[in-house]
Symmetry: C2
Subunit: 390 residues, 2 copies
């Protein structure tokens, strides 16, 4: 077991194209994403065992290689992407370089860890319910969950197709944005968003010291865009949206993984198995209610956002929890985090974590959300964010 | 991974006392039972990791060493005793020497395997819901589940205290009985039981070819005792008793293991985790009904059995299932087996599996049950059983 975020053993390396906008950059790949010729382990000793070794790269890997970036290794993930804290009972917990006594966040734990430690230029993760945004907040990184459906997720282990996305992490805002231009195949917009919304329910939901720590970042964002307008993100309640997203996401995850569970009887951490079993117990009535609420969440985001508007909120309600806590001690914090991340999965909107604050020495991030398709506007803001910081 | 039933690595060996009734015999110890100085692994990579290495032998090991028998190794068990088929996702499946394409039965899988292969003279197992009786039937061995509470279970991983017992396997009826004399500290009775009961509901519950295969054994038993009287074992239904035993046993197992699950977040096979999660969902009302039914089952056994009566039934409704089947394919057979084994856990009565039949080349056993405390009568019958066979 290693704790630098990379899988143990020799690192998989694939040179990118000699031409392209990302020549010279090295990226790590979450082990949920196919790299041709290398088994996709999925964070479980019994996933790769029963899957064929991929003969093709995932779309996103292929695209990055064509743009000139090189694969420098594969990284640890929470078991089959089920987790947002980053503790893996089989592969160990990748170090959080910014707070070594704390979890790195997950499920893209190893990718965040490797980028934060400076071991690669950027790294791919996936985000279904918070798996890029949470480790970005906990490790002090730029991280994006793109608009749902905008980047092709073929060649990536399916968790919940209604929410699955592929995203990335970087330490550097300009590089972070460059990767987006290459992946989306379009340039950043020249003009920034003109309207800033501040989600009062989401800020109020965070710990008081997190609210205080994010104040200078809020002010800086207002300086870039304009004075913020206070709004309610979720009039029904963040906790109500969180339940809806959990029911939808974990019901889809159950559908995705049940055949594997039955055929392979895999080894799973108790916490992961318990979550899957809980998912199996939701009723059709619960799933129906949650699906209706997804329409409401989308309508709410349409009402709040247009192409010139950005909404800001804390990415996580607190910095990374301490490592090695009992399962029961982490259940409540995990659900509390999901209250702030659920809107991404429910409404499919793009979200970027901006680094820049700490609480007790541990990072915590500010998020910006745009209307569906406004990924490049968010990335442009991330580039300006850093330019201003320098 | 090995498949001879013993744990991988160097075998733990402890010489017995130079004097005593069991001098010269070597026995294997299920890895749920403490041997001083050796970690008790419990069939899980995360059980031994968080338990101290035992400084004392379990009572039963100490007793056997004092009687002159020697420990020759520790054996594979289903994860923390939860299973009756013998497939362990971490340690592998011990071979069933009598039917290599089939499971050995569990949870005392390695002990049954090692005895059946002739690798030791006898072996210790535990039986809560069938964990000695089932592998004895599947591997063609003598095996006993003693009267509940008669042999001290200290130094053994606790599953369900209301049903936990420690038992043993042997190939040879005379040796099988000798071990019992040593452990119970008493001689076998000179006179055999005088009355034989035949549980028609239990026989009818077995596969038709098992019923036919057991006919010569039934006739032989009648020859030893006298003509059988047909009775109903469970007037409420074996399936109703099975549910009661499952609710009681798995609720107690949940109580036993929940603190470990929470603190260690252990790796578990999906099938095992799912069973624990199901156990956590029983209601107090279900537990209450099951506890009341335990009184009824005990009353029924008191009505049927006295010190001179033995009841016979098929140990399992079929021989060992094929190895490597999906989880869903094994759930129903497992519950069907429990319909025949549940009376031991519910009523605390002693039960011995007699080998001697096969179906399609795979062993299946006939069981004899006595009143509580009649263990030595059953062992005396096992000795006579073999004497007659020779």
């Amino acid at each position: 077991m290693t704790d630098d975020g990379f899988l143990p053993g020799p690192r998989c390396r694939i040179d990118g194209s000699p031409d392209g906008p990302l020549v010279g950059l090295g990226f790590a790949v979450k082990d949920l994403i196919d790299v041709a010729g290398h088994p996709t382990g999925g964070g479980s000793p019994d996933w790769g065992r029963v899957q064929p070794v991929p003969s093709r790269h995932a779309w996103v890997v292929e695209r990055l290689l064509r743009c000139g970036a090189s694969v420098v290794g594969k990284t640890v993930t929470d078991e089959v992407s089920l987790g947002i804290l980053g503790e893996n009972a089989h592969d160990g917990t990748p170090v959080n370089p910014r707070a070594p006594d704390r979890v790195p966040g997950g499920s893209s734990s190893g990718s965040a860890s490797a980028v934060a430690a400076g071991l690669c230029d950027f790294a791919l993760g996936t985000d279904t319910g918070g798996s890029v945004r949470v480790p970005a907040s906990f490790c002090g990184l730029y991280g994006i969950r793109p608009t749902h459906g905008r980047l092709d997720v073929s060649g990536i282990v399916v968790q919940a197709p209604g929410s699955d996305t592929v995203g990335w992490f970087a330490r550097d805002g300009a590089l972070f944005a460059r990767v987006g231009e290459a992946l989306f195949g379009a340039a950043l917009p020249a003009t920034p968003p003109r309207r800033l919304l501040l989600a009062t329910d989401a800020f109020g939901f965070a710990d008081a010291d997190v609210q205080r720590a994010l104040e200078p970042m809020r002010a800086r964002l207002a300086g870039l865009i304009g004075p913020p307008q206070e709004v309610l993100l979720a009039p029904q309640g963040l906790s109500v949206w969180q339940v809806a997203q959990r029911v939808l996401q974990s019901s889809e995850a159950w559908t995705s993984f049940a055949p594997w569970l039955d055929a392979a009887n895999p080894r799973l951490a108790w916490s992961v198995a318990r979550g899957l079993m809980t998912a199996a117990l939701y009723t059709d009535a619960e799933r129906m209610r949650a699906a209706l609420m997804r329409h409401e969440a989308r309508a709410r985001m349409t009402a709040l956002l247009d192409g010139e508007t950005v909404l800001c909120l804390p990415t996580t309600p607190f910095p990374a929890p301490l490592k090695g806590q009992p399962v029961s001690a982490l259940a409540y914090p995990r659900d509390r985090i999901s209250c702030l991340t659920c809107v991404g999965g429910l409404a499919g909107v793009p979200q970027v974590n901006l680094p820049g604050a700490t609480v007790g020495g541990a990072p915590v991030g500010l998020s910006i959300i745009g209307a569906p398709g406004q990924d490049l506007s968010l990335l442009a803001l991330a580039r300006r964010w850093e330019a201003r910081a320098e």
